[in-house]
């Protein structure tokens, strides 16, 4: 279960993770840079398990994986958006941060409590008492998610 942080359309990677911090490698330090310049309060207030809900084209811009990593390291459990920019989408899957495409994100409000069940493919809005079906992932993505990311998947001796 996680509390919702609501964002709009076209949230870009420079806003999620500033360019000057790309040299940072320590996960705790990386977490502090999540939305650091534009929403400085975000990394301080976000709680383990919280969920980002956004409009279309989330994560557009740079290929910087830090944009997905910082969200994972700061405690975000899942990102739900109407659509994702393609590199961000792949990065999130590869580092083990679940990403869900959902058309109805406008119905979800800031602060709502959500429950995500990837096995059942169900998203529950506990606050509003609504349920949504999550579109199943293609098999390769499912396998990478199940392994907890691409590194674990390859560690298990599997190949793409």
């Amino acid at each position: 279960m996680g509390k919702v942080w609501k964002f709009g359309d076209d949230v870009n990677t420079d806003v999620i993770y500033p360019g000057y911090a790309l040299k940072v490698t320590n996960p705790d330090e990386m977490a502090k840079y999540a939305f650091a310049e534009v929403y400085p309060e975000f990394s301080k207030e976000v709680k383990e398990g919280d969920i980002i809900v956004a409009g279309k084209n989330f994560g557009c811009g740079s290929s910087r994986e830090q944009a997905a990593l910082c969200l994972k390291y700061v405690g975000i459990s899942c990102v739900i958006a109407k659509s994702f920019a393609r590199i961000f989408y792949r990065n999130a899957i590869n580092i083990g941060l679940p990403v869900i495409e959902l058309k109805e994100t406008d119905e979800i409000n800031e602060g709502d409590e959500l429950e995500v069940d990837l096995n059942e493919g169900i998203l529950r809005n506990v606050t509003q008492g609504k349920e949504y079906k999550i579109k199943p992932y293609p098999e390769i993505i499912r396998r990478i998610i199940d392994a907890g990311g691409l590194i674990n998947y390859l560690k298990e001796g599997k190949n793409v």
């Binding site: 076209d10 790309l22 811009g61 740079s62 920019a85 393609r86 590199i87």
Partner: protein, 417 residues
Amino acid sequence: MGTLAENILAEASGKSVSPGEIVYAGVDTAMSHENAALVIRWFREIGRERVWDNEKIVIIFDHRVPAESIKTAEGQKKIRNFVKEQGIKHFYDINTGICHQVLAEKGFSRPGIVLVGTDSHTTTAGAFGAFATGIGATEMAGVWATGRIWFKVPETIKINVEGELSKGVYAKDVILHIIGHLRADGANYMAVEFDGDTIKNMSIASRMVLSNLSMEMGAKVAFVYPDEKTKKWLEERKAKPYRFILPDKEARYVDEYNFDASEITPKVACPHTVDNVKSIEEVEGTEINQAFIGSCTNGRLEDLREAAKILKGRKVKEGVRLIIGPASWEVYRDAMREGLLDIFIEAGGVIINPGCGPCLGAHQGILASGEVAISTTNRNFQGRMGSPESFVYLASPAAVAASAIEGKIADPRKYLR
């Protein structure tokens, strides 16, 4: 019966393919810059001893060169050691240039290949007919380990541009005009094919602008069909074997767009999104603090020549900072020999070494709060070039040069009559 993307992926996966299908492809070239430090970390974690092929990995330092901080210096040191350890053949240190330009100059951007890079603007190599796309560090670690990657076969849109460009209008204006129409996610997950006389008549450098900026409408890959010009470039660069793969006549496109080049005027992408495109007349007179000419988008010789035409014998407005960053040391040298650098210095400009620094607000010209820049780069996101309270306008090198002279956004056409 495929589009260009489908035909290359069919070759690379050894089977016929259709849009939406997931395929597994072998990688021909795997490019990284300083973020190779992160790739190395993940590669170590996978636990393979050797990379899959030390002749297919290319590493080019460009984002923060020479190192601007201890953290960067440590990262670069780690990469240099890894290059030695693994015998990585194609390593370009701080003295070569911006990765997408270097890939082209050194003959890595070739028709018909699968090229992945840990940089979103890897789409630039599509100007040579390569299936070239950006990936993240973890995914690259997987490529280093296995030489393979999965792709969802993209749907393709075709963009036809016909007609002659007016004076003062360039590839940059064409692609900004297109992005303004298609918007920031107009080509998300999709392949783009550029066609039409205007494109055929463009130089290789101008075609690279189109493929480069197509990323800003979400494109996975953005092709210009390889032709005689491409062939000439490849031969001059002694590029390794390549194959001209083209789309089939019966290829199916999800959408087709037609643009008349003669109707396109100088464009500016206004803060804070690349699809916030206006005609220059609408923002003319906006005061600026900094003007930047350079980057993987517009730091090539033809760009510097256009800027020099306007700056020759003129001075940058007092109080305005003009920064010029050639895209590579090859470009730098050519510009020097042609006397372009003299023109820039005479005008009051500052020439920096080739690299990405100012474009992503890493170093070499960061903006303070309240400051306004006009730039030939590819992104104007909030905080991209420095303070989150600064403002970035994107335009052609000619428009940036004209603006530097006037200290406010200016139409380059009046300097080109």
